[in-house]
Subunit: 170 residues, 2 copies
DNA sequence: GCCATCATGTAATTAGTTACATGATTAG
DNA sequence: CTAATCATGTAACTAATTACATGATGGC
């Protein structure tokens, strides 16, 4: 179960509330993992019971700021270095990339075009993020992964353009 | 739930048994979706109840060959053309790509090196698959997706080499 | 005062994993 | 004859989604 380690990693980068962690899943970690608040809150409680995270501050509205403990850092390191990654893939856009070739040319064009727009939008926001990170004094921890995202999406964009061209003439 | 549509798509390409579908999840569809037999058999039964697939042959060892019905083809098309892809991502190697930057240089090198070997192995088998598809008379339905996989993995391989070099000097 | 956002939780359901269970066929 | 592979299922458990539920704070 990787949610636990995603949370440990986010908190190892810097402490935060459950609410704020959910936002980080939506922005920085978006391309790798996602979790909703109804999964995050119970998981933080379980991690606390295992001594891997702790509440370091309580603020307004009953908010709790969580931080990773030394045991949590150990567990994160152990997981990254000593365990085999689970490579089972479940990626709906990827599945659709396969299945789109079962459609006739007109339908295929529609689906590919929509996907092209999606990827271009994502590239635009990755460019923004990269520019923002470039402006910082210290390099951000996750900056190289933004770079990887840009390169992968550039490849996907080119592929979509080619498949669209093929659907247009074919 | 995309498992249903993955099965409809595989059967739309050509009919097969549950056992054989599981193998297709492991080879052709590997980079996009995975499902175990304990998920496939009940799902085929549910799809049959909905009239989207049917048994077209019974063979040795109680095997059933399934095929997609017209209603199943309609449902597959409807899903591909008319529904928004679910873009929630849960990708453990992707998550690890983020978290690896929280490790010290020595640990990071270890993890990146292991990943580099993994990607190179995958690239080698994609090359084999591409060569095999090239030898066929008719182009295979899913050939363009193999091409996409090769391009994406090439980008990932280059990125891993760069991050390894950075960890070596840093 | 009111609306957006912050902030946290639980319950019911569905999806997916791991373990249990069985047996037929075929190649060597 | 025997081991590998083909072939199908169910049960118990864990993970994830969707829906329900509540309330505080801060800016305007």
């Amino acid at each position: 179960m990787s949610l636990a380690h995603a949370l440990l990693g986010l908190l190892a980068d810097h402490p935060g509330t459950g609410y704020e962690l959910r936002q980080r899943f939506e922005v920085s970690l978006r391309s790798a993992w996602y979790a909703s608040h109804s999964q995050i809150y119970p998981e933080l409680a379980r991690l606390e019971a295992r001594g891997l995270v702790e509440v370091v501050a309580r603020g307004a509205r009953g908010s709790k700021t969580w931080a990773v403990t030394d045991a949590g850092r150990d567990e994160l390191r152990r997981w990254l270095v000593e365990t085999e990654p689970n490579r089972d893939v479940r990626n709906e856009p990827g599945l659709r990339a396969f299945l789109v070739f079962l459609l006739d040319a007109a339908d295929r064009r529609r689906v590919l075009q929509a996907e092209l727009e999606e990827v271009r939008g994502r590239l635009a926001s990755l460019d923004e993020i990269a520019a923002r990170l470039d402006g910082l004094d210290r390099p951000a921890t996750f900056a190289p992964v933004v770079d990887l995202g840009q390169r992968v999406d550039a490849v996907v964009e080119a592929w979509l353009r080619e498949q669209l061209a093929a659907a247009d003439e074919g």
